[in-house]
Amino acid sequence: MISLLQEAATTAAEHTEEAAEAAAHGSESASGLPQLDFSTFPNQIFWLIVTLAVLYWVLSRIALPRIAAVLSDRQGAITGDLMAAEEFKQKAKEAEAAYDKALADARAEAQKIVEANRAEIQKELDAAIAHADAEIGARAAESEKRIREIRDSAANDAREVARDVTAELVSSFGGSVDQSAIDSAVETRLKGTLQ
């Protein structure tokens, strides 16, 4: 590449020298490199200074303040948004806490209600059981009483029958009927069999 460059440089030098010899542009090709042609320096420097002055004015007066304003606006907007987001996050956290609390309250309330209902039902149940027990007891007592009555009447009937049969037997065997003797005899006989 270096050899190429040298070649290029020499070619250029030859070219410009020949051009100088041809004297087509006497001032333009005073040296080999156009960069070292000092006759164009005032022109370049003049226009460069004009350009730089204009650019500096445009940049420092218009472009850079505007970009700076845009950037700081954006920074402000971002900071504001971040703060708002932080605030919303806080709010969301509070809402979550409130929700949790409400949930816990509701759960406790439900528990209480369940407990109360259970107690009430238990009470009703107890009452019903007691009532049923009492009824059952009453019915059993009544039944017992009737059974006893039936048994008593049965015993009386048997005594009556025995007495009559004894009196009949005694009379038919020709004996005199002594009512009290018969009674006591029947009583002694029946004792133990009945009841």
């Binding site: 590449m1 190429l4 460059l5 070649e7 290029a8 440089a9 070619t11 250029a12 030859e14 070219h15 410009t16 020949e18 051009a19 010899e21 041809a22 087509a24 542009h25 001032s27 333009e28 080999g32 490199l33 156009p34 960069q35 070292l36 042609d37 006759s39 164009t40 320096f41 005032p42 022109n43 370049q44 420097i45 003049f46 226009w47 460069l48 200074i49 004009v50 350009t51 730089l52 204009v54 650019l55 500096y56 445009v58 940049l59 420092s60 218009i62 472009a63 850079l64 505007r66 970009i67 700076a68 304003a69 845009v70 950037l71 606006d73 954006r74 907007a77």
Partner: protein, 251 residues
């Protein structure tokens, strides 16, 4: 022209330096200081392009920028950060000038890569003025801000006493070489790249070599896009470094 005829005889025509010729825009004749030339035209185009990006592009002042505005903001942000990082907060006063320099050099370099374009920054007259402007303003700022203490820049107080005079001489020389290296770096890069491209393009006249030549031109063009950006960046960051020296001359 004579050389053209000669070049055509040889089958090749290399005029890699023709692109750097300063010519009057209208008609022939001498180039006076006021003559509108191709330099004038391309300086104008550069200025218009920068205005289009930084002024017209930000016309919307949008919170959510469009493409052009975000490019303008990117350029602004990059330069602003560079000035702030290198020179510190007190250098931000000079940010508009550094931004002007950066945008001007970047756009000159980039627009100079267009076919048929004239690269204003390939001329030592242009880069020399830019570098001298930086050199003079930095020196003036240094003396105005720090007075005689600015000379402490050349007196390396951390070095042994014996070495200090020698170092001072070296520092003074290097200080005065700054504008030279500053300007020649930029102009040299621009000129060399463009000349190489032209040379490769010249080889395309030979049918056998032309594919290679065109590939080479493409590759060099890509490299030149890189160089154009990097040189604009280098010029700007060096300006910031010099400015930092002027604002804080202590080593």
């Amino acid at each position: 022209m004579a050389s053209e005829a000669q070049g055509e005889e040889a089958g090749l025509s290399f005029h890699p330096m023709d692109q750097f010729l300063v010519k009057p825009l209208f008609g022939e004749g001498d180039v006076h200081w006021y003559t509108p030339t191709n330099v004038t035209l391309w300086l104008f185009i550069v200025a218009v392009a920068i205005a289009a990006l930084l002024v017209a592009g930000t016309r919307g002042r949008a919170i959510v920028p469009n493409r052009v505005q975000s490019v303008a903001e990117l350029a602004y942000g990059m330069t602003y950060k560079m000035v702030e990082d290198v020179t510190g907060k007190d250098g931000l006063k000079y940010f508009p000038y550094i931004m002007t320099l950066f945008m001007f050099i970047l756009f000159s370099n980039m627009l100079g890569l267009l076919p048929k374009a004239f690269t204003v920054t390939s001329h030592i007259a242009v880069t020399g003025v830019l570098a001298l402007a930086v050199f003079i303003s930095v020196t003036v700022i240094g003396f105005v801000k720090n007075g005689a203490q600015f000379l402490g820049l050349f007196w390396v107080s951390s070095a042994p006493l014996v070495l200090r005079p020698i170092l001072a001489v070296i520092e003074v020389i290097s200080y005065f070489v700054r504008p030279v290296s500053h300007s020649i770096r930029l102009a040299g890069n621009m000129m060399a790249g463009h000349a190489v491209m032209k040379v490769f393009a010249g080889f395309a006249a030979i049918a056998v070599i032309s594919p290679i030549s065109i590939l080479a031109v493409t590759a060099i063009y890509g490299l030149e896009v890189l160089v154009a950006t990097i040189q604009a960046y280098v010029f700007t960051i060096l300006t910031c470094v010099y400015l930092k020296d002027a604002l804080h001359p202590q080593h």
